[in-house]
């Protein structure tokens, strides 16, 4: 079957077997190996990507279901190559030691990004709830929670600074 999928803003046309999983489409066809695979039963979340903005387990989505959709993978989180281009969630994971082996990390970060997009100041309990469908075998979760909170705080500070800018420019006008 021919499908057209936009991944991280780039459109791809491919002929695929109907049974091909989105995980394998991303990994094997597009060579975007940041999306991982960790279980047979949709339990681990190593494969989480965003499908039209919604975090999904890509091992439980057929590639053909993504036809016409916009997929975001970990490779699409940063805006560029430098450290300054990293998403605050990526920075938070680095500062707060939210990863060890890094295998769960892409999925955890995408879920966290989606959470912050809808709830910019989540409580620790909300963060735990959001990532509760995913397994991390290394971190014991605490530092993932802190990483997301770090990102939320950074984004709040950025927003405050932007508001202050607008305020001051309004005052000038």
């Amino acid at each position: 079957m021919q499908i057209t999928v936009s991944v991280n803003g780039e459109s791809h046309v491919r002929d695929v077997e109907p049974r091909l999983l989105l995980t394998h489409f991303l990994r094997d066809e597009l060579r975007l190996t940041g999306t991982h695979w960790g279980c047979d039963t949709s339990n681990c979340g190593a494969c989480v990507v965003r499908l039209d903005g919604v975090p999904v387990k890509s091992c439980t989505v057929l590639a053909v279901m993504a036809d016409g959709a916009e997929v975001t993978t970990v490779e699409g989180l940063a805006h560029g190559r430098t450290d300054a281009d990293l998403d605050p969630v990526q920075e938070g994971f680095m500062v707060c030691h939210g990863l060890q082996c890094g295998f769960c990390t892409p999925g955890m970060m995408l879920t966290s990004r989606a959470l912050l997009d809808r709830d910019p100041a989540p409580s620790a309990a909300t963060i735990r709830e959001a990532i509760s469908g995913q397994i991390c075998r290394c971190t014991g979760y605490e530092n993932i929670v802190r990483s997301v909170q770090w990102a939320a705080a950074k984004e709040a500070a950025t927003r405050d600074a932007a508001d202050a800018d607008t305020d001051s420019s309004e005052a000038l006008a």
């Binding site: 094997d28 940041g34 047979d40 989180l77 680095m94 082996c101 970060m109 709830e129």
Partner: protein
């Protein structure tokens, strides 16, 4: 501020380190490896694609014990995308149907005569892609003649039980080994006295440490690439011990060792699961030889859980001789060790039960003895995996559970009982009654720090209040539901105090298959003062690229950012036994410090030549060689490195350049310790356990990167909660694995884990170059008894003395009703 420890609530009093500015040495800094991981640019085995690569898949046995009567592969071979089908018969022709295990037993690569556990490897298909390879598995026709399986370890030695290892000539039973440690007669004498004396007693308890699986998030796999022209095999594989694997492949496959290169790229967690060599790896190698192109094999999750190294499966009887005022005199232990169908446990040769001999724990005893019997059963082989430091997990669980049983029988507070019996600081170095020399520690202090941090007295007061309310509710007939309609939850407080023995090990007593447990390090300092360190250990997430750079930085006055760490490629790194049993920092970390010191001494001679002074006049100060008493006359490592490569006339004793190599032979193990306190709430109506708080005070000696150390502890605590409450690879009596997927083998999520509260004490190891003791496995070892002790403590109103892990709601509820379960057999 919200209440301390409420789940998911961050409390500022919780000690936690985040990354700071990059230090010139020790301190919390961002991990160097994270830059690639957060961008999705890590490179795990399955991310590697080689030109022309084919894909392999393993056909596995559906039965636990059966004779293979025929295998028909013709339909699979006829599949248009299939290149080869390999069976035991193919391997027999190559002399590879069986391979040696790490315990000097043999293990079937592909079954020839019989299958001996559910999930055992029977055939290997090589096809164009992973889907086609799995399609073809369904086309292989195997006929089995079922045999009676041996599942309950307690029945393995009974007369009339079928013999599993009929492949071993003359084998008439399922016995593997008997091993003992300690002084039997001295111990028996203490117990005889205790039994006779009015003021003493003997406390006995049976317990099972059930089979669990490490389940790293990345499963195991390999890509074998045999170059038909050069005869060189490159094997990309998920291994924690690349050099040991290279030697083993040379022995297994008869390949010359210089023609084998093992590359272990980024590893998605190991926890011991990636120490052994699995049949799938060997099949990939054979497949690459047969097809002449690279072959990738990645197992799926069920294959990982059902066939690769499990952990524990120890059936233990603990006995403690104790005076009625709480002085522990002796400990006696009997263990039945279920090793599965092949004895493939990975421990030093002379230690068939690993380091279980440290079961005397952290206490000053008069005598101790244990006897361990290993048996074959129709279950997956492996063993001694899962962050256990060679069976220390089992030993610590045994002694820490026994101490609580003693406290229960004596009616004594478990903290007080521990305080009374802990080793005192002046007893170090301490010779244990089973022959271990504990290097250092201040146990009472560490325990006190934990008690203070937890607010132990307040917790006990709160518990007393809860118990009163629970009793009131019971009396008033409201039952567990409580009077106010809200269930009165039972509160439990559990302690453990563990001593680990890690950093294996001294070569005179410890080897794996004849390989001494030393590790090498090689350090190159480039002319501009940037350095490359090459080490034999292999990170699976521990952050070696950062920590080891920090060790070099600390020794040489460089920035860790200017030091690259190379690991995981046998062609590029010196020999060493790898990463498991918390041995990286104790062994490779020591090698790193020693090699950096060699460089520093060499640099001293060069610096003296540069400044035209005697080397004896120089002192090392703040990262520079300086003329004593003259701070203006000094040279940095970068200055010296350039000079060492220049045309400077070099004095005697240096050949030019600063590079050095080193092999570190540990003189002793290191002995980290810790005091853990767990607080749980148990719903008496459902048996559900909620871990409310977990206080962990670890003493791992010197901390190189405190942020990373805390991360290691966090992960281990989650593991401990998981093993205590959820994880279990159980089997039904037909030998069906009941934990073969993540649906059935429950791993802790963010909701089962509390916000960990950490503390520390620091007692450096006196024999380690930087005083570090290793921490990777401490929390996995120390936490399960704390959780179990807490749950049993919560059940005091039901007078429960013991219940076996995992303490699922059903297990807790049944224990409270007086009907304990056998969770390992899936019997409810």
């Amino acid at each position: 501020m919200t209440a301390i420890g409420e789940k998911g609530v961050q409390d500022p009093s919780v000690q936690i380190h985040a990354a700071e500015e990059t230090p010139r040495g020790y301190g919390s800094m961002k991990r160097k490896e994270d830059a690639r991981f957060v961008r999705g640019r890590g490179q795990y085995v399955d991310d590697v694609v080689l030109p022309g690569m084919l894909h392999g898949a393993v056909l596995r046995s559906p039965l636990a014990h059966a004779r293979i009567t025929s295998i028909d592969t013709s339909a699979a071979e006829a599949h248009p995308k299939v290149h080869a089908v390999i069976t035991g018969a193919t391997l027999e022709g190559l002399g590879l149907a069986w391979m040696p295990t790490l315990s000097q037993d043999t293990q079937a690569v592909l079954a020839t005569d019989k299958v001996r556990f559910q999930g055992q490897e029977v055939a290997f298909v090589v096809a164009d892609d992973r889907y086609a390879a799995r399609d073809a598995l369904a086309l292989i026709d195997v006929e089995y003649e079922p045999l009676e399986p041996v599942i309950d370890a307690k029945r393995a030695l009974e007369a009339g039980t079928p013999v599993i290892r009929t492949d071993k000539e003359g084998k008439t039973d399922n016995h593997i080994f008997d091993w003992e440690s300690g002084d039997r007669s001295a111990t028996d004498a203490v117990f005889a006295e205790a039994e006779a004396a009015e003021d003493q007693l003997v406390v006995v308890q049976d317990m099972i440490y059930p089979r669990v699986h490490p389940a790293p998030l990345e499963t195991c796999g390999a890509i074998a690439d045999m170059d038909p022209v050069t005869g060189k095999l490159t094997l990309w594989t998920t291994t924690q011990a690349p050099h040991a694997h290279r030697t083993l492949y040379a022995l297994v496959a008869g390949l010359p060792e210089h023609k084998i290169r093992i590359i272990s790229p980024d590893i998605g967690g190991g926890f011991g699961n990636k120490v052994g060599i699995y049949p799938g790896y060997v099949c990939a190698v054979v497949a690459s030889i047969v097809t002449g192109v690279p072959v990738k094999w990645m197992e799926d999750r069920s294959e990982n859980l059902m066939s690769t190294s499990f952990a524990r499966d120890y059936h233990m009887r603990g006995e403690v001789a104790v005076t009625r005022d709480g002085r522990i005199r002796g400990v006696r232990v009997h263990v039945l060790a279920d090793h599965g169908a092949f004895n493939a446990t990975a421990q030093p040769t002379a230690f068939p039960a690993g380091f279980f001999g440290v079961f005397t724990g952290s206490y000053d005893l008069e005598a101790a003895h244990c006897a361990v019997t290993g048996v074959y059963t129709n279950k997956a082989s492996g063993g001694v995996a899962y962050a256990c430091s060679f069976r220390i997990t089992e030993a610590v669980y045994l002694i820490e559970r026994m101490v609580d049983v003693v406290a229960h029988d004596l009616g004594m507070d478990p903290a007080e009982l521990r305080m009374r019996n802990l080793l005192r600081p002046e007893q170090f170095p301490y010779q244990s009654k089973t022959g271990w020399e504990y290097d250092s520690g201040d146990y009472p202090h560490t325990l006190q720090v934990a008690l203070d941090k937890a607010g132990y007295q307040e917790l006990r007061a709160e518990q007393a209040d809860r118990r009163r309310r629970f009793a009131d509710a019971q009396r008033s007939g409201a039952g567990p539901a409580g009077t106010a309609g809200e269930p009165v939850k039972l509160m439990g407080i559990g302690l453990s105090f563990f001593t680990e023995a890690v950093g294996a090990g001294p070569r005179r007593s410890m080897d794996i298959l004849g390989l001494g447990m030393a590790d090498g390090a090689e350090l190159r300092v480039h002319p501009t003062g940037k350095a490359v360190l090459r080490v034999s250990c292999q990170s699976q997430g521990q952050g070696h690229e950062t920590t080891f750079a920090q060790i070099v930085a600390q020794e040489l006055g460089l920035s860790p950012d200017d030091i690259d760490v190379v690991h995981g490629d046998t062609d590029q790194t010196p020999f060493g036994l790898g990463t498991y049993g918390s041995r990286s920092t104790p062994v490779s970390g020591a090698a790193t410090a020693m090699v950096a010191r060699k460089v520093r001494e060499r640099a001293k001679i060069v610096a003296a030549a540069m400044m035209e002074v005697s080397a004896d006049d120089l002192e090392w100060d703040d990262g520079r060689w300086q003329v004593a008493g003259d701070p203006d006359a000094s040279r940095s490592m970068a200055d010296i490195a350039m000079a060492a490569h220049s045309n400077l006339e070099l004095p005697e004793g240096v050949e030019g350049h600063l590079d050095a190599t080193c092999v570190y032979n540990p003189p002793n193990l290191t002995y980290p310790c810790g005091a853990y306190i767990c607080v749980v709430d148990v719903d008496p109506g459902t048996g559900a356990v909620d871990v409310r708080r977990f206080v962990a005070v670890d003493d791992c000696g010197m901390r190189i990167n405190p942020m990373i150390v805390e991360g290691q502890v966090h992960g281990g605590l989650a593991d401990g909660v998981g093993m205590a409450l959820m994880q279990c690879i159980a089997f039904d009596l037909d030998g069906n694995c009941l934990g073969g997927s993540m649906m059935d083998y429950l791993l802790p999520t963010s909701l089962e884990c509390p916000s960990w509260e950490l503390g520390e004490t620091v007692t450096p190891s006196p024999h380690h170059p930087i005083g570090a003791k290793g921490v990777g496995e401490s929390a996995t070892v120390g936490s399960p008894p704390a959780v179990v002790n807490a749950v049993i403590d919560a059940l005091a109103p039901y007078d429960v003395r013991h219940a076996d892990m995992p303490l699922t709601p059903a297990a807790v509820w049944c224990a409270a009703q007086g009907h304990p379960l056998r969770p390992d057999l899936g019997i409810t």
